[in-house]
Amino acid sequence: MNGLALPAALFAALAAVPLLSLPDYVMHLLITMLLTALAGTGWAMMGRFGLVSFGHGAFLGAGAYTMAILWNELGLTPWLGIPIGVAVAILAGVLLAYPAFKLRVVGHYFALVTLAAGEIVRILIVALREHTGGSLGMTPAKAPEGGAFLAMQFDKAGFWWVALIAWAGGLLAWRMLDRSMASKALAAISEDEDAAASIGIKVTAEKLKVTVISVTLAALAGALTAQYRQYLNPESLAGLGISLQIVFGAIAGGMYVPLGPTIGAAITIGLEEGLRIGFGTELTGAAPLVYGLLLVLFMLYLPRGIAGLFERRAKTPATAKRAPGEATA
């Protein structure tokens, strides 16, 4: 277990960050980065095997809204609400993914099916406005005196630790998947489904496995983001916009390396804040403009993301040798 020494040391160092008593704003950025990175890591779990989803926002929303509604209407603590929210998201994911995989919806078609599913979740959130507040969004009820822990309403340091654990958990899942036979099977599947099936790989089961991991991380990221912001709205937790942003972060950072999506999250959040500070709020339109430009440039010149720059020197994992989506029919 020698390989774990460095990550463990790094984790300990990161856990000590609140001791630096950084300004609130910096902590806010760091926490947001970690949670964005978690969502991106979740997406890349599927994306790197050619399962490109344009609806991952829906899983953020499913996790976050389930948790918030349970807390507001039944007073159920988010400590239980989050696992339930994740379970709901997994259920939704499997309901969609199982027939999609079974009936071999791949490539473009898979991307568009997930896009439709993401839109359905967004519209449902808007339509169920009596519970969700519709487009205006909702806020989780304030915790009673002394109940902040139970309500998961921490200060910045507390959230840093929660986010850090969740993020590290995501990376651990990545590492475990990479070391298992499943990653070899998935790499084979993304190369050629028929050939993979012919050598005894259970295509649907393997794909479902990685989907469940991916959805879990995304739903967790959604619930924690909502809990951290103490505000939920459909635009930032479901629908095409946020889904594409997750994709952008993962692609920009590089989806074939565990830390790639985290680098991507640092870029997207840094970019957003940099533009906001640099140009002020009247130029809000500049952020998507620069995003879009970068996404195009990345696809043209750096399709493997920032992390792709360093890959040549590192030991390339078997799955990293190919570009995404080649399995498209």
Binding site: Y109, I123, V247, Y291
Partner: protein, 284 residues
């Protein structure tokens, strides 16, 4: 029959006409170039701004503004192909889709910078007409007829011109056609320009019905993709019919429930179609 239900049916067909044009353009580009333009609805958005700007700000007559919109968006389609799509032609399809997704963000951002997020209205409306027991919005009817005429011209272009024949041939078999002396690069350019022009025409029809804002594309973009896929990506006739089916589902669904409910039904219908007939409703 209940006149309100009849009205919902008529509105569904009219709505289908509006969806049909962007679906045709998207299918043309996909069928020929084999790339999904994720930013197609944003091209329409730029077209809507073009008409709005020329008509309300520059004071052009509406007809002239419409006439200018088509070539403007055709040029935009050309640029999109030359700058973004052509260098990626040999990349994996998902990279192509993501790059055009980048263009989607870029155009939204650019529109926000130039025009702000305010809703802009053309302020043109035609009086509703009464046909039997049913009231039909004049603007919607005019848009519907224009969409049919546009689709007809496209059909004639593809069917009776030399270039149109080459376009259809490339869509049929892109390996053999270069051997027959057709330059695929040139055909790709033409198809991109025609696809752009169709987005421009769709913009003219939409701008009289919807207010323009930078994110207006998101309100009809996803559904346009679903229509294309449902009809079978690249299958123009299938997409055309699917547009009317989708329009009817949304309109009739809205008659029985809320508008939101009708969109949920439409999207769920799409997913089920994908599961049962992944090559499209009208695949043989």
């Amino acid at each position: 029959m209940d006149p309100f239900f009849l009205e919902a049916l008529v509105n569904g067909i009219l709505l289908g006409g509006v969806f049909a044009l962007p679906a045709l353009g998207l299918n043309l580009v996909f069928g020929v170039v084999d790339v999904v333009w994720l930013c197609y609805a944003e091209l329409v958005m730029v077209g809507m701004y073009t008409v709005w700007f020329l008509y309300t700000q520059a004071g052009w007559p509406l007809g002239l503004a419409f006439a200018a919109c088509l070539p403007a968006i055709a040029v935009l389609g050309l640029l999109l192909h030359l700058i973004v799509v052509r260098p990626l032609l040999s990349s994996p399809p998902i990279n192509q889709v993501l790059a055009t997704g980048g263009v989607l963000f870029f155009l939204q951002g650019a529109a926000t910078l130039v025009f702000s997020t305010d809703f802009r209205s053309l302020g043109v409306d035609m009086p509703p007409m009464e046909v039997g027991e049913v009231f039909v919005s004049g603007t919607k009817l005019a848009a519907f007829i224009a969409a049919l005429v546009g689709a007809g011209i496209l059909w004639a272009f593809l069917k009776f011109t030399y270039v149109g024949t080459a376009i259809r041939a490339i869509a049929r078999d892109r390996e053999v056609m270069p051997l027959m002396g057709v330059d695929p690069q040139k055909i790709y350019l033409i198809a991109s320009a025609v696809g752009g022009a169709l987005a421009g025409l769709a913009a003219c029809l939409l701008v009289v019905q919807l207010d323009v804002h930078p994110f207006v594309g998101l309100s009809f973009g996803p559904i346009t993709f679903m229509i294309c896929v449902m009809g079978g990506l690249g299958n123009m006739l299938g997409g055309f019919l699917a547009a009317f089916l989708m329009g009817l589902i949304i309109s009739v669904g809205g008659f029985w429930g809320t508008t939101e409910f009708s969109y949920v039904v439409a999207f769920a219908f799409f997913i089920i179609v994908m599961f049962l007939r992944p090559k499209g409703l009208f695949a043989r």
